[in-house]
């Protein structure tokens, strides 16, 4: 089951890569550099999914005290932080040739940086508590607070001027670009969501094995 998920993720990643280079058109002003969007956008969106899953799993843990929910939250946090980190890295690589800088304190970049630090803190907290049950409780609380904080952070930094282009997929009125851009993007999004699910499934079974070994 998990193995099949892995192969599915790998296959869709390969398909996404082919589409990003083969089907998607060459951007007029930016050239081939723009193709990094097909990795950059899915990474960030998948990380948001990870943090939503983390918050829901945290809530489930607090209500039911089910260790499985805590493991899902833990795994989602790790994968989410990794995806945000990679999203920032690919964004930098894209930003250097197009904006002329690796990093700028633009509103959207700042809010993602804050998000990154927030969830790094979440993982730090997890790592610094010996007692499994207490770590789960505290992290569940932080996970819920952090998720509720995302929209607040978003609005507070959005009211500055922004250099980052506005969202193209999830905006009022839907996507208005060409389908030759949309499909490669959607396939890549699917690929990264599958990859996220695969990583989480693997990590959860690893965490379960660790817990059983410790017991």
């Amino acid at each position: 089951m998990v193995r099949a998920l892995g192969w599915l993720a790998a296959a869709s990643l390969a398909a996404g890569l082919v589409m990003a280079f083969g089907v998607a058109p060459r951007e007029v002003t930016q050239g081939n550099v723009q193709r990094i969007m097909y990795v950059h956008v899915p990474l960030i969106l998948a990380s948001y999914l990870a943090f939503v899953v983390l918050a829901v799993a945290s809530l489930v843990y607090l209500v039911r005290r089910d260790e499985g929910a805590d493991r899902v939250a833990h795994a989602s946090g790790e994968v989410g932080v990794m995806f945000v980190g990679l999203g920032i890295a690919t964004g930098s690589i894209w930003g250097k040739p197009t904006w002329g800088t690796w990093w700028t304190w633009d509103a959207r970049l700042t809010s993602v940086a804050i998000l990154f630090v927030m969830y790094l803190g979440y993982l730090l907290l997890r790592g610094s508590i010996e007692d499994r049950e207490r770590a789960a409780r505290y992290c569940a609380v932080v996970g819920i607070v952090a998720a509720l904080d995302i929209p607040l952070v978003h609005f507070s930094v959005y009211w500055w001027r922004t250099l980052h282009q506005p969202p193209s997929l999830m905006k009022p009125g839907g996507f208005t670009g060409s389908t030759s851009i949309l499909w490669p993007l959607l396939i890549n999004l699917l690929a990264f969501v599958l990859l996220y699910a695969y990583f989480v499934a693997r990590r959860v079974s690893l965490l379960r094995a660790e817990a059983e070994a410790a017991a």
Binding site: G121, L124, E133, I144, V145, D149, V153
Partner: protein, 118 residues
């Protein structure tokens, strides 16, 4: 916290020669809302990190990013008020502060028991 804020505000008026007259009512609103937001999450996280390894490090690392909206809103609103703008001009920041306060206080109240148990 409020006492410290009152003292600092007094010192600011003296040292920077700020004319508080018109800004004071608006400033009071912003200061009170900001304090509430900071205190709610601050207390929650402090209770959590009190008995954790490396708590001196963890507390600010956890608190600062979460508090960014509150800090940003209070700083921006205070700045505008001290420049003589009416409270209405920073209504969006005040609304954000209120929203943040509501979320922080409600979540803190709901989860505080979870933090304290065991």
């Amino acid at each position: 916290m409020l006492v410290v804020e009152a003292l600092v505000l007094g010192l600011f008026v003296v040292f920077f020669d700020i004319d508080l007259g018109r800004a004071l009512p608006g400033l009071l609103v912003v200061v009170l809302l900001g304090t509430l937001g900071l205190a709610a999450v601050g207390t929650l996280f402090a209770a959590m990190t009190a008995n954790v390894r490396a708590r001196e490090l963890l507390f600010p690392v956890l608190l600062l990013p979460v508090q960014v909206p509150v800090l940003l809103a209070t700083v921006k609103a205070t700045e505008a008020l001290l420049l003589g703008e009416p409270l209405g001009a920073v209504a969006h920041w005040v609304k954000l502060l209120v929203a943040a306060d509501v979320i922080y206080v409600v979540v803190s109240l709901l989860t505080f028991d979870v933090v304290l148990e065991g």
